[in-house]
Symmetry: C2
Subunit: 396 residues, 2 copies
Amino acid sequence: MRGQVPTLSVVLEAIRDRGTVSRVELTRATGLTGATITHAVRKLIQLRFVREAGQVSSGTGTPRRLLALVPEACHTVGIQFDRFRTVTVVLDLAGRVVGRRVDAGAGVRDPQTMTIALAENVNALLAETGIPRATVLGAGIVTYGPQDQEAGVLLTPQPTPAWEGYPLADELAAALGIPVLLENDATAAGLGHAGLGGARSSFATVYMAGGIGAGVMLDGRPYRGSSSNGVELGHISVDVTGAACGCGNVGCLENVAGPTAIVTRARADPALSARIDLDADTLTAFQRIGRAALAGDAEARDLVSASANALAIATVTLVNLFDVARVVLAGDAFADLGPLYREHTQRALARSSFIRAVHAVDVELSTQATDAAAIGGAVTVLRDLFESGRGRRARG
Amino acid sequence: MRGQVPTLSVVLEAIRDRGTVSRVELTRATGLTGATITHAVRKLIQLRFVREAGQVSSGTGTPRRLLALVPEACHTVGIQFDRFRTVTVVLDLAGRVVGRRVDAGAGVRDPQTMTIALAENVNALLAETGIPRATVLGAGIVTYGPQDQEAGVLLTPQPTPAWEGYPLADELAAALGIPVLLENDATAAGLGHAGLGGARSSFATVYMAGGIGAGVMLDGRPYRGSSSNGVELGHISVDVTGAACGCGNVGCLENVAGPTAIVTRARADPALSARIDLDADTLTAFQRIGRAALAGDAEARDLVSASANALAIATVTLVNLFDVARVVLAGDAFADLGPLYREHTQRALARSSFIRAVHAVDVELSTQATDAAAIGGAVTVLRDLFESGRGRRARG
């Protein structure tokens, strides 16, 4: 189910990281053979992703020709949405975010209406940034699961029954006139954190926005499982006596620790809801509770701590099962509260992870907590391009 | 961290499955190229693992030469032990168990004494079966974790402090005069279930003997994680208000559902311990409770059901995180109770797995519940041989 990070991605990343670079330096940097580098560079020049950039002489030998990235040669779009927010980004070939906007989430809109809105967001962003449409290779649409990624279809009746089975990727591709790939939000957040190529790194991503999910990256590639619906951290049971969940399980992490659960509890507390304005969408209300907690409100702090403790316990389970040495926290719910959750999780792992005597498990907060998943959507399109013939194909 | 199943394993398995077979049929059966098959067959004949076995003419063309396995060409040993039992098996090249014995577990013996006993078990088994020592390629020693598999060392002070850091693989290799590999018991049970090559299958193994563990096989290869200490199902928390565990976590599955927990509870029940003779090692006592439950003892049944329910809930977590479509139950604790645990687990997955609307998750009981882990130890040695230069190396 898992191959190597595609050679073109590795070479492109090495060029990107170094500014200008010779073929010999690339061989050294990537560990690939000279022949493989020559072939990859020829392909990248053909695609106009890379250009010759002068030469340097190095003592006696033949002068070495230098290569440089052409960042504006192409762009990819990433769109992450849930019920509460839509984040749209455009990345250039250097992996830089060259355009970004935040819009309303799906709410209870039907999928047709939302698809039109998603396309309008992209069109507006391209117009604002002046990015030529012809340079946009495709878009990654990123949201919750379960999904049929091959078909580009959501397999859940969220937020309304009309969404289940709606051909989201195909319809968005038709509306935008570019290929579209569907990706899981937590997996995308890992891809966004790792960037293009991802330095072949291995880590788990714990993702919290409207809901809770997770992803695992192994040597720079997402763990996929049998149907690309793995690592569903939000729906593991952390309380066997807990409430039934729509997913079929009881005491699901998401219903104990997620923004919806915390906001519901806050709204049920008359004193707390008198102090904090909770008349907003769930994610905004959650962020207000978070800011109150950080400002010293004891009841808000209790709610957030309960959430952070449950998330930390579930993260210990994730680490005990996947044996990773790094955990990254990403998602809009960590925008302000990231350091608090990071601290709870790091403490729990230091105390309770099965593997702590063998190796440390470090918890870090994504520098792009809010945007990582959208960025990952854009990264997945570029990766897919390089995997042509091997990976799954975009729809449209 | 994960490559392909080695070509020699794949070819050997295809020959084994078919009795006698031509090179052309092998190409068709494996999907490998003719050149790869020719190369692999030459290597296998050189190793004397495969022989020419006559030829068949097929109409007009050149007659095809047939190949057959030489099952007695080599053997590998697998040894699984915990505190309560030691199972030793010898496999021939066809993957058949040609020798087996069961001995006492480690108890509280020191590692030096136990190593001598393990070597004596192997020597006695080889003598009983008349297998020539020169045909024994190596042994896989299989037990609980955490482990440093490269170094062949246990990283836990179980069953006595002297075990922590003891060079088990090196010492056993010295005592036996053959190379020895260290493997995790639950992972080995998966390898044993899949057999050599493993038909590139993907499934999770839930393993219960003295303790509880799990393993995940992906396309015929074990999921390893960052230090080969993943999938520690016995130490995920199923009760956040539960007792502290030596591992650092609270409410660990093993302490809620494992044989030690169930036997401790049974012994605390005067009426139950008057009905069932619990004056035995924990695994034997657990099996007696199991047989009483199956015979209709209500209290025994309650204890076993509580264990089966907790195990089922943890298995839902395992499936929600790894997204597998098959779960195999293996280990001595399932010897009699396997069907009961299978039923509980299958029911929980049908009701609660996140992915059940996308694909079924089937639970099966290993046909070798007691021996799968020991068999897997023997399988891992043969695999390692074929991975020379790529996999980890046996010690000794």
